[in-house]
Amino acid sequence: MLAELMIPVIIFFMAVFFAMGSGVMVVCSKNPVHSALWMVSTLFSTAIIYLILQFDFIAAIQVIVYAGAIMMLIVYVIMLTSVDEEVRRKYRLRLYQIVGLAFIVIIFVELVKTGSSHLTGWEGLDWKHIPETFGSVKYIAHQLFSKYVFPFEVVSVLLLAAIAGSVVLAKKDKKD
């Protein structure tokens, strides 16, 4: 019984650590292809976390759109441009980069500090209060086509513009 309860928790924490690890690897890999693959793994781990948090639809979308479509596109573009490994910088970080890193540290510390008050003992995955239908496709669809119908339409126009824009940008100029 305990083991049955523990399995999702274990999966949850594994997904969290895996997401962290592959996130670091995205930044650290020399080869962009490796980077992309680590990215896919991050997205996958995130999808698992969504799933555990009962947002199955979002998890599916995450895998289909992000891991499936966008990362696919990125890999294609890597193929079109440079599969070479990145040459490491021969010089030290520039001043602005150091300042930027300092900023990042500040942001991270601020964010963690806010959450640190909740850093008590582990109390579980907090499933009980969530209704079954909360993250379901039906519920989200209902929201999407009622309350969020205007942003939905706007986003559709944005996607259309993006399609047209990318076609215009990427096509070869016939005159050349």
Binding site: Q97, G100, E110, T114
Partner: protein, 647 residues
């Protein structure tokens, strides 16, 4: 018909729109279309006014007052202004002769402007626009619409004075007229504001409607009423060319002669007199303003007459004569003889328009010559012009039986009766001077041996029928026009006075003590004096310019200073130049160099330099490196996060 009064300004407006928009095309097709449209529009207006006039005559006098609201122009707070037309004896009398004389002069223009190629349509557009504005000025039932017309006629006057704008002198004459009118308009606007404010303050009725405001004007203090009257009169001095703003009118003769006849003699320049008459209750209440009107009018009439006697340009003489006659009109309204003033407006518009048209005909015959020293002996060559001109001269000189006699005598008689003996004396002397300079023109132009230059002399011809017929009609009117106001003394009933009286006497202001009773014998005596003075003027002119031509030359030799003074128009233009223009020019230069160049430009350039300096410094932020920009984004995030998580 009265409710269709809006048709009166509407027809010329249609003319303006058609000729203004399509005129350039129509002129290429056929010039006839243009003048048919323009003259037809004014003719129709005249017919409408005539019908309204007939209808008005059939009504009992106390009901002769209508206000036709066309639409609400604008409403702002307590002020509501309608485009609305006032039909009462005064406005109808004015619009009757304005449209009538206007129509005749439109017809005359067909012949006079016939040789002007390429902007025939523009001339008639301006002329119709003038008629539209003038009718609005006259028929308006409130100050704002009147001011619209007031400004409109000013613009048309400017456009038509500078009609031959290639000539720089003509163009600047237009500008001069405009600037002097602006000075007057400033006073007019201030007067309007003050009236609106003070009537509103003392009676709580905020209105710019004439009848409404004038009926309540008796409740405001006399001093305020006088101030309003003086301010409005400043506007009138600009528009009607009185001291001190008269100097534009002689220069306005640069325009085509029909324009001088229509705008600068018969109609527009009388707008000031009309306005004073329109505000009769105000001036009766603020009697010091009225006193000023009378004094300015009397003095102007005398001074302008003295200037007229030494001019050689035929149109300039008539222009000064116009100023002088306008002075008479102001003298009339200034002594509360409003109907006499308006009566003189009407008769003056007949004979002065005729004088200008006659002068125009002479100029036309002499291929543009305006100097009287190069005329002479034209009597037999252009007989129609001569006879009509003679009638006009007799009328303006106040020869009994002709129109000028009745109106001028009415004014002088009322002036005497109101106790302004000095002004009466000035007016009588002016009558003599008027007769003198008008007959001087007549003798120099039509009599004696010809001094015309030989190559011009070959082309002398009588004007076409479009020009002579209006002149003949005006000559008839000048001759008989006075019979609408034959005084009681001479067995008449002074119909114009009884017709106009309701337009002045509704303000509820005591007017009984304004005029003393003058015995009939004294009145006869005054009349005879005026006539004798006029005849004396004619005789002196005959003596000087027909019988013994050496007299004027001897006089010039004997009194060179006086002649120079008169010839140079008392040096008023030069004085204005020295007193206003030179300091203005100097002030302008100083302001230009110190205020504009140093301070304003300094600030503007300084601001731009500061911005440029900052930009020069800041452009190094634009490193072109994406990651550098990303640091900027991160800084934003840091600030946001820190703010929202800590505060």
């Amino acid at each position: 018909m009265i409710k269709y009064v809006w048709l009166v300004p509407f027809f010329p407006l249609i003319g303006v729109l058609i000729n203004g928009i399509l005129g350039w095309k129509l002129e290429k097709i056929n010039k006839g279309i243009i003048h048919w449209i323009a003259c037809g529009a004014v003719g129709l207006s005249f017919l409408v006014v005539w019908m309204i006039f007939r209808e008005l005559l059939n009504l009992p006098p106390e009901h002769r007052h209508f206000e036709i609201i066309v639409y609400n122009w604008f409403t702002s707070g307590v002020l509501s202004v309608n485009v609305a037309y006032l039909v009462d004896p005064l406005s109808i009398t004015m619009s009757l002769f304005v449209t009538g004389v206007g129509f005749l002069i439109h017809v005359y223009s067909i012949g006079y402007m016939g040789h002007d190629e390429g902007r025939y349509y523009r001339y008639f557009t301006y002329l119709n626009l003038f008629m539209f504005s003038m009718i609005n000025l006259i028929l308006a039932n409130n100050f704002v619409l009147m001011f619209l017309g007031w400004e409109g006629v000013g613009v048309c006057s400017y456009l038509l004075i500078g009609f031959w704008f290639e000539n720089k002198e003509f163009a600047s004459a237009g500008k001069k007229a405009f600037v002097f009118n602006r000075i007057g308009d400033f006073g007019f606007v201030l007067g309007m504001f003050l009236l609106f404010f003070s009537v509103g303050k003392y009676t709580d009725i905020y209105t710019l409607n004439f009848y409404n405001a004038m009926s309540h004007v008796k409740f405001i203090p006399v001093a305020v009423a006088s101030a309003v009257g003086i301010l409005l009169f400043i506007g009138a001095t600009g528009k009607s060319a009185q001291i001190p703003l008269y100097v534009w009118l002689p220069d306005a003769m640069a325009g085509p002669t029909p324009v001088s006849a229509l705008i600068h003699a018969a109609t527009m320049v009388t707008a000031g007199v009309y306005m004073v008459a329109r505000c009769a209750p105000l001036y009766l209440h603020g009697h010091s303003a009225m006193e000023i009107v009378a004094i300015i009018g009397g003095v102007t009439s005398f001074f302008a007459a003295t200037m007229a006697i030494a001019q050689y340009d035929i149109k300039k003489v008539i222009a000064y004569s116009t100023i002088s006659q306008l002075g008479y009109m102001f003298l009339g309204v200034g002594v509360a003889a409003f109907s006499a003033g308006v009566f003189h407006i009407v008769t003056h518009s007949f004979f002065k328009a005729l004088l200008f048209l006659g002068a125009g005909s002479v100029i036309h015959a002499l291929s543009g010559e305006q100097d009287m020293r190069k005329m002479g002996g034209l009597k037999d060559k252009i007989p129609v012009t001569y006879w009509t001109f003679l009638i006009a001269c007799l009328a303006i000189s106040g020869i009994p039986g002709l129109s000028g006699f009745f109106s001028k005598d009415e004014i002088l008689g009322k002036t005497f009766a109101s106790g302004h003996y000095f002004l009466w004396f000035l007016g009588t002397v002016t009558a003599g001077l008027t007769a003198f300079y008008m007959f001087r023109v007549l003798f120099m132009t039509f009599f004696g041996e010809s001094r015309v230059e030989p190559d011009v002399a070959k082309h002398i011809h009588e004007s076409p029928a479009t020009m002579t017929v209006p002149m003949i009609i005006l000559a008839v009117l000048s001759a008989i026009g006075g019979y609408i106001g034959v005084p009681h003394l001479l067995g008449g009933s002074n119909r114009i006075e009884s017709f106009l009286e309701p337009s002045f006497s509704y303000g509820g202001i005591e007017t009984e003590n304004l005029f003393h009773h003058v015995p009939a014998g004294t009145e006869y005596f005054l009349m005879i004096i005026a006539v004798l003075v006029g005849l004396a003027g004619i005789y002196v002119a005959y003596l000087f310019y027909m019988k013994n031509k050496s007299i004027p030359e001897n006089l010039v030799k004997k009194y060179p200073t006086l002649h120079k003074l008169l010839y140079n128009k008392w040096y008023i233009d030069e004085i204005y130049e020295a007193v206003f223009e030179k300091p203005g020019h100097f002030l302008g230069s100083v302001l230009w160099m110190i205020w504009d160049e140093l301070i304003v430009d300094g600030i503007v350039k300084g601001v731009s330099n500061i911005v440029r300096g900052i930009g020069c410094g800041l452009r190094f932020v634009q490193t072109g490196s994406v990651q550098f920009y990303a640091v900027g984004v991160l800084l934003g995030i840091v600030i946001t996060v820190t703010y929202f998580l800590n505060f």
